[in-house]
Amino acid sequence: MFRFLVRRTIGALVILLIVSAITFWLFYAVPRDPAMMSCGKNCTPASLAQIRHNLGIDHPIPVQYWYWLKGIFVGREYSGFGHCNAPCLGYSFANNEPVFGTIMDRLPLTLSLAFGSAVIFLIFGVGTGMIAALKQGKFLDKFATSASLLGSSLQIYFVGYIALYFLTFKLGILDQPSYTPLTDNPVQWFSGLLLPWIVLSIIFTANYTRMARSQLVEQLSEDYVRTARAKGLSRANVFLRFAWRGAMGPIVTVFGIDLGTLIGGAIITEQVFSLQGIGRLSVISVIQSDLPMLLGVTVLSAAAIVFFNIFVDAAYAFIDPRIRLA
């Protein structure tokens, strides 16, 4: 297990290094010159060179990348802007703030959004899928299957506004989405995020219902389930400890991917509900051409995806003892 984790972590770091290098190269190889943009109309060559130096883009790209990498571990000095402390992912000139600090400010919201909705869609999605698989062919199953088919055809940018219009604007049942830190006021934290959680969960719940149902239906028709029943084990025991255990694997895999993506920013959800999380940060950075910020967000999202992949593979070994981690 330990060896597995070390090996996969090194692999993940290599992938992150490559992803960040690609991102870096693509961003800074663009003909769009950030120095020109901030220099303005009356731009003398001398002041342009000064701005270049201040932005840290007066070196060849590989050298710039090296400085960027070094900054993550030892921090970096931006002349004319200030010092950027040790985990320095760069300096956002549009915000006049280190990238890492801004991301850390926005992260709690995105984490709340991701984990909150994950709790809802796991419980409801998997629960409904289990019931549907148990009541196969009955009314409940057909209803769950149809509802989940409809649910997975919905889009956040449509359902979100429907929910906002009816629940918040017309009926006033739910609060206008907002974010209050959990530590400040748990009640407000909950009520402010309830609508985004529900909307984000609708679509995911549908997918998990479909997945859990089809996996369970497949497992329930396996020979080992019949054998277990024939041995005289109770229906509940067979369902939970045999069939469900076999069905869990693919669900855990998809869950890991989904969670990684969500932490990288539920971009559209945050846009619909005007929540200032990582996703909205990236959209705003695009509008402001804030390349250092975009680079930071991209690397963070890639890190979330890569590390959740490791988490999934490790979880797999617990679920399915046939898989050996080497």
Partner: protein, 341 residues
Amino acid sequence: MTPPTPSAAPLEVTDESAEKSITSPDSKAGESRSPGQLAWRRFKRDRTGVISAIVVIFFFAIALAAPLISKLYGKDPYTTYASQDPSLLDAFSYPAGANGGMSSQFWFGIEPQLGRDVFTFLIYGIRTSLGIALAATLITTAVGVVVGVAAGYVGGKTDYIVGRIIDIVLSIPSTLFIIAFMPVVFGLFVAADDNIPTWLRATALILMMSLFGWASIARLLRGQVLGLREREFVEAAKVTGASPARIVFKELLPNLWTPILIQSTLLLPAFVTSEAGFAFLGVGMIDPTPDWGVMIQRGAQFYTQDFTFMLFPGLAMVIFVLAFNLLGDSARDALDPKSKR
């Protein structure tokens, strides 16, 4: 809310009857059917599948015939009708009539503020979105198939390198990357502050979506080819001296059409929704190009005042995606009768 019920019952019945009819004596004895014909027969008996196919074809027909429809209807998606007839909008620039200004003249109402015709904007929007999604699907599938089959068939070092590239592509947060790189791609072709032509936006979107889409198909097909490569019929072909091209095209590909078709039916609705998502975020197609996502983005600006405007593109998209998903499921059942959903 009554969700459309794609009940499982007719599916099961059709499956049985289809199998019966295949073996039943009344299907002319001695007449042999190709797997494609069998799949087509199974599909025709699947009522949900046929209905959803009709809906999907209807959408594509609208998209293709959009110029014709708008000619017959007498309006286009660009003219601001409110500037010709100010009585269409009220003092706050919202449609004067009820239900977003729906009337016999403007079937789906008129757009708030600018006063364009919603109906033609929607059909042209469907045209743009479906065109982009279709192109992205074709490119993604083609690249995915070529890379996947090549990696699986050649094996060895090629396979290893392709595998690692796929790993990297799949670990890149694609939505974020596309959002971040759309301005970069434009920067490569157009000087800053210049207007970006519509065709460039569309092409960039198609290429970016394909760039991150091919990897999963390639990985899937690579696995399939690895399995097929060791089968007897491939070995037999090799022994008889068939060229690699012949083995790939005549022995391997015919066995891969089913997964390829299934994957592309999954891709198309996904591309439609993400294309609209990018437009919604303001990084894909932009106003005044008619587009599904542009409409939703416009609708989002005044959904509290004029909800009807939001409803048309939103519902149309839900219907299309739902029908396409159902069609995909039916196609899967027809092509691969062993699979159980």
